[in-house]
């Protein structure tokens, strides 16, 4: 049995759950449950990325994005527990979502047209990747240090509010 031929269907099925979780993020009244739904969106996104053939990226999304960033949101929202009622503007949301959908459809058609009429030549793309990981390794190191600095920045901002 060739499992690969069922991959689009498995991705589609996983995608349905992801769409349901995304709707839950925007519709659930309790922000804590919305945050938990966001973690499901991240996990299902990682599952689809894994099914597309990128297990490393999927593992990275799970550990860094869901494991750190989304968990940070869930903990922060749980500690804040805002009780105020939320004002919603359904018409504005529907209008923007429709415009967004039309924009994306137009972009997809444009990209398809570009692909049809523009045939790019062969590029040593794997060479670019290896150059980035060898020559620009210091830059990547600086990037990760900068990200660590954002943590300090976040703590500093939060403590400033506490001092006031």
């Amino acid at each position: 049995m060739n499992v690969g031929q069922y991959t689009p269907y498995i991705i589609g099925f996983t995608g349905l759950f992801m769409i349901a979780a995304a709707i839950a993020v925007t519709r659930l009244k309790d922000l804590v449950y919305s945050s938990i739904a966001l973690s499901f969106v991240g996990i299902l996104n990682a599952a689809i990325i894994g099914l597309l053939g990128f297990p490393v990226i999927a593992a990275f999304v799970i550990t860094v994005y869901v494991g750190a960033a989304v968990m940070f949101i869930i903990l922060s929202v749980s500690m804040l527990r805002p009780t105020e009622t939320e004002t919603r503007e359904e018409f504005r949301g529907s209008f923007v979502a429709t415009l967004f959908g039309l924009g994306i459809a137009a972009s997809a058609v444009a990209v398809d047209l570009v692909k049809t009429y523009h045939k790019p030549g062969p590029h040593p793309l794997s060479a670019v990747s290896s150059i980035l990981l060898s020559k620009y390794l210091v830059v990547l190191g600086v990037l990760f240090v900068a990200l660590a600095a954002t943590l300090v920045e976040a703590i500093s901002i939060a403590r400033r509010g506490e001092e006031r």
Binding site: I11, M18, I19, P82, E89, V96, V128
Partner: protein, 103 residues
């Protein structure tokens, strides 16, 4: 790694629907945390589209994705800190109060 056309089209469809839901959430709610959560939904949709696109042209796929996820995770932490700080000062999460304050 190249994925076949049907798989990539399915992934693109899901990505764009999720991104549109995120855009809907951003425009609908005036609550800062809900807006942040909707931005993250939008990010998940766009990120899936980017990974699918990179899988077709095989340009720095893993490296670019790792950088994108790292930057977004850092950004989320800072935004949550700003929202917590704002909530402590204003005692509300409604973004209209920010407009009134001229923030």
């Amino acid at each position: 790694m190249n994925v076949d056309l049907m798989t990539s089209e399915t992934a693109y469809g899901i990505a764009f629907i999720v991104a549109a839901i995120g855009a809907y959430g951003i425009a609908t709610s005036r609550n800062l945390i809900r807006t942040l959560l909707s931005i993250e939904v939008l990010f998940n949709g766009i990120f899936l589209a980017i990974v699918t696109y990179l899988s077709q042209i095989a340009v720095l796929d893993t490296l670019a994705s790792v950088i994108i996820v790292s930057v977004v995770s850092g950004e989320v932490i800072v935004i949550v800190a700003v929202i917590v700080s704002f909530y402590r000062i204003a005692k509300t999460l409604d973004s209209s109060s920010m407009e009134e304050e001229g923030v």
